[in-house]
């Protein structure tokens, strides 16, 4: 009796293992800051991917696979941590990676991913160098910082008619890269004079000393190349100190938290962000699905959730169409409609997206100026 | 009736028998001296009484209440105060403040009450200040009240130690080598002071190496050697005791 029992047990165990072997799982890795100051944006990205997978499975799923698994890694906003996360995902045999948030995390971590021949899509990192390295399987969903910098310069020159500008960055890859772009494009026309270039430290709360110095210089524009946590606080202190310079900032502040924390002080601030997308069915479906999945209002969705959703959908549709092996080629050749508009990629893996200048009005972001056409919305 | 009573008290530190089955009583209103060579166990006896150590065996009672195992701060509130062989003043406090700290265990208000009830607090602080001044006057230290303790002359630091102990309003005062390091004039003043304290009704338990002081003021003397009581009696009896003389000469003579 005992022997039979063991025999049955063995069969059961073997059956279990072979069961795992035949069940196919598609693994998608995500890298975004889940701890630290940018955890909010990191969470927006992860949630966007999760909503995509859920929606995709609801509409039929992936033939040949019976499970889609998301492996979420914390890349903080740090190259070292992100590279470790990337290696971990590579070792877990993911078919594609979506990440990171900070350019400083995406730049180094995409190297081992490229070497492993795995497709990577960034839903948020905008530093232009990322796609200048000839990676064949790397794609970027949001517009690049040279586009962003150019748009900001056009806006300051033509719409604000600014003469003097003070720059503030926080010495990270993204913020410094953006400031460099602004200086570069401004040099071409020579219309802007940069009267100061200050640096803050991520995590600081008090910028009054720097801002008081800027108040004395009284530039036409203070350009804040910083992330949202510091951006909200700086906006408040600018109002507190009664500084009259116009505030212009960028896509890292373009999210609900910016106005939620900054409150009335963010009213009237200009931001560069991807040009507004005409409403389309994919977008409205996403908005509905996301706000239902995460229990947030339809206008409380993080801006990078949209890009993350599109990135995940590209992966899922690509695998569905031609399998994991040909994923990069499939994505490159595809022409699709996403929550962030029409999606096509050039050789470098970039989209042909334009920036617009937005303004905070009654706590919401409203399109304001189109730098391409030099017209108001 | 003796107020402080030690019965069969033993203290072992590992293998070392520091105090060995000691019986002792501090007579009421008298000065009892505990003498003995270095390392005899005198300070250990004080430490046992004041709750620094718990006796390995035996009982210590005060006014009939057992002290064994009580924390030092509880022993003080029962009425036993002490000074240390090496001076332990609060150097970054003034002379007055040192004495005030001693007085605090006799005042009523608890933490919360002190934090909340300001008028009461002010009243109480005023009383404390007055009492502290009275103690300083008794010890002849009033002129130094605002000096930092560390700035006092050596003899006065010793006096301040006594003042601080007196501030806890004890019934029994334990003095551990109060004359150590004093010059003859200071020692003579100290003798007078100790007698004056006794005359206010306190029992005094004194450990001292200075024989002139011990013989001059003690009512009774107990002699300790290697933790054991080897003699007991009036100064006169002790001076003529063979065993005592031997113990002392054997370990380096009079100090």
């Amino acid at each position: 009796m005992k022997k039979i029992g063991i025999f049955v047990l063995c069969i059961a165990v073997i059956a279990c293992f072979s069961g795992i072997a035949t069940a196919k799982t598609l693994k998608i890795g995500t890298m975004s800051p889940l701890t630290g100051p940018y955890a909010q944006d990191g969470t927006y990205i992860l949630q966007g991917v999760k909503t995509a997978v859920k929606a995709f499975e609801a509409s039929g799923g992936l033939p040949g696979y019976d499970k889609i698994e998301i492996l979420a890694e914390d890349s903080a906003c740090d190259g070292g941590k992100a590279t470790m996360a990337a290696n971990k995902l590579i070792n877990s045999d993911v078919s594609a990676i979506i990440g990171c948030y900070c350019s400083s995390a995406t730049l180094p971590s995409s190297i081992p991913v490229d070497e492993a021949g795995i497709v990577m899509l960034t839903p948020a990192s905008t530093n232009e160098k990322i796609t200048e390295r000839g990676f064949k399987k790397f794609f970027r969903l949001p517009p690049r910082d040279d586009v962003q910098g150019w748009s900001a310069v056009k806006f300051m020159e033509n719409s604000l008619k600014a003469k003097t500008v003070a720059l503030i960055d926080d010495r990270q890859t993204y913020t410094v890269g953006l400031v460099d772009n602004i200086k570069r494009f401004a040099k071409e026309t020579g219309k802007l004079e940069f009267v100061a270039h200050e640096h803050i430290t991520p995590g600081d709360k008090d910028f009054t000393a720097i801002l008081t110095s800027l108040k004395r210089l009284n530039p036409d524009v203070i350009y804040m190349s910083i992330y949202q946590p510091e951006g909200s606080l700086m906006a408040r202190q600018v109002k507190q100190l009664e500084i009259t310079s116009t505030l212009v900032t960028e896509d890292a502040c373009f999210q609900p938290k910016f106005t939620e924390v900054g409150g009335a002080a963010t009213e009237g601030i200009y931001l560069t962000f991807a040009a507004p997308v005409a409403d389309n069915p994919v977008r409205s479906d996403f908005v509905k699905a996301y706000s239902k999945d995460w229990g947030v209002g339809e206008n409380e969705i993080g801006s990078f959730s949209f890009f993350a959703y599109d990135a995940a959908m590209l992966v899922l549709e690509g695998v569905k169409k031609a399998g994991v092996e040909k994923l990069a080629e499939t994505i490159r050749a595809s022409k699709s409609l996403g929550a962030t508009g029409e999606i096509t990629f050039d050789e470098k893996g970039d989209r042909a997206l334009a920036h617009a200048v937005w303004i905070v009005k009654d706590g919401a972001f409203v399109p304001y100026y189109n730098p391409l056409t030099d017209t108001m919305y | 009736m003796a107020e402080l009573l030690l019965k069969n008290v033993t203290m072992k530190f590992g293998g070392l028998l520091a105090v060995d089955s000691l019986d002792l009583e501090v007579p009421s209103g008298k000065i009892l001296s505990l003498i003995g060579p270095n390392g005899a166990g005198k300070t250990t006896v004080f430490n046992l009484i004041t709750g620094v150590y718990k006796p390995t065996e035996g009982t210590i009672t005060y006014n009939g209440e057992t002290l064994n195992g009580l924390h030092s701060n509880k022993v003080v509130s029962r009425g036993i105060a002490r000074t240390f062989q090496n001076i332990r003043l609060f150097n970054s406090m003034t002379v007055l403040e040192n004495v005030q700290v001693g007085l605090h265990c006799r005042t009523k208000s608890g933490a919360i009450r002190a934090l909340l009830n300001t008028p009461f607090l002010v009243q109480e602080e005023k009383e404390i200040a007055e009492k502290a001044m009275a103690v300083l006057e008794f010890l002849g230290l009033e002129e130094f009240r605002n000096d930092y303790a560390s700035n006092l002359a050596y003899g006065n630091q010793r006096r301040l130690e006594i003042a601080r102990a007196m501030a806890t309003e004890p019934g029994t005062l334990l003095l551990d080598e109060p004359a150590a390091g004093m010059n003859p004039k200071e020692t003579a003043d100290l003798m007078e002071l100790i007698l004056k304290i006794r005359d206010t009704g306190l029992d005094i338990f004194l450990v001292e190496h200075d024989m002139r002081l011990v013989m001059g003021i003690s009512d009774m003397i107990t002699v300790l050697d290697y933790g054991q009581k080897i003699a007991e009696g009036t100064p006169k009896e002790i001076q003529n005791n063979e065993t005592v003389i031997e113990a002392y000469l054997g370990s380096g003579g009079k100090k």
């Binding site: - | 701060n73 609060f90 933490a111």
Partner: protein
């Protein structure tokens, strides 16, 4: 903005920043003074205070109480926030430090680090990972001194910070408990021998130190407008530098150290490239320690503790 307005404005900025650093530094110094332990969890006390204040303030604002009874609201926000953290501080002392009082220094330090990580993660889980906006109870209005501006909120916070420090000073110099605290810090066995309940005194220290840290946390949340579970870190580092600079264990030292750090930070950003701002704090600290190893107002290591 003319030069004198500029200088006045920077002076305001420095005093404001300095008084917050001072309040936090006091918590370090008091705890160190009494049990010779760097309370690494102090930064989390600061953050916990900010969250507690936020919860009370948000609750009061929801029912419209803040607008009608501003003063009472502030008393409630600061009172409840500080009381909550005082209880937290005592609990930590009982759980994490008291059992190790006779153990090696290293054990106590590791326990403190562990507490810090534990509390930080606890707040992350309970309060979320991202910034939480603090209701703007203080408004934007203020006083103008020439072209310099100080908001009423800042005035309120500076006055409160100084009042707390003055209160602490009165407490330690002229109350029974305060003197017991100083006595305990200098010599525990002797303090016991004078009838002081040393355990109780340590508990009270663990109420006051973290309580002051909590007050600073609420001030930061209220003035800057946001709180996040990890916001204590940067303040902890700077306040720690302040405590060391002033002489760890010395209460006036912590107040002075905090002010100095505030002035150095603001002064550097005001007159020199902001590039090196963060380094300066530590350069100043190292320089002072090199010239006076026990800190500005600290006395030689073994003697003065509070």
């Amino acid at each position: 903005m003319d030069t004198s307005s500029f200088l006045i404005q920077q002076l305001i900025n420095a005093i404001f920043l300095g008084s917050i650093f001072s309040l936090i530094a006091l918590g370090y110094t008091m705890v160190y003074g009494i049990i010779q332990l760097i309370n690494f969890a102090h930064g989390e006390m600061f953050t916990a205070g900010a969250f507690a204040g936020l919860i009370v303030l948000a609750g009061l604002q929801k029912v419209g109480f803040v607008d009608s009874h501003f003063i009472i609201s502030m008393v409630l926000v600061f009172g409840l926030g500080m009381a909550y953290v005082a209880v937290l501080g005592v609990s930590i002392e009982q759980v994490a430090y008291k059992p190790l009082r006779n153990a090696s220094r290293l054990a106590a330090i590791l326990s403190a680090l562990g507490m810090s990580i534990f509390l930080s993660n606890g707040m992350m889980l309970s309060q979320g990972v991202s910034d939480r906006g603090f209701p703007n109870a203080l408004g934007w209005e203020g006083l103008k001194i020439m072209d310099a501006k100080i908001s009423y909120g800042q005035v309120f916070i500076i006055i409160l910070a100084f009042a707390l420090m003055y209160g602490l000073w009165i407490f330690v110099t002229s109350t029974k408990l305060g003197k017991a605290m100083r006595a305990t810090a200098q010599n525990k066995p002797m303090a016991r021998m004078l009838g002081i309940n040393v355990d109780k005194t340590i508990r009270v220290t663990f109420m006051i130190g973290p309580g002051l840290g909590a007050a600073a946390g609420i001030m930061v949340g209220m003035y800057y407008g946001s709180v996040r579970f990890d916001m204590g870190f940067i303040y902890m580092i700077k306040a720690f530098a302040a405590a060391i600079l002033g002489g760890i264990g010395s209460i006036p030292g912590a107040m002075l150290g905090g002010m100095i750090i505030g002035f150095v930070e603001v002064g550097w950003s005001a007159f020199l490239p902001s590039e090196w701002k963060d380094v300066t704090t530590f350069v100043v600290m190292i320089l002072v320690l090199y010239l006076k190893p026990s800190g500005l107002l600290g006395q030689s290591a073994t003697e003065e503790k509070v």
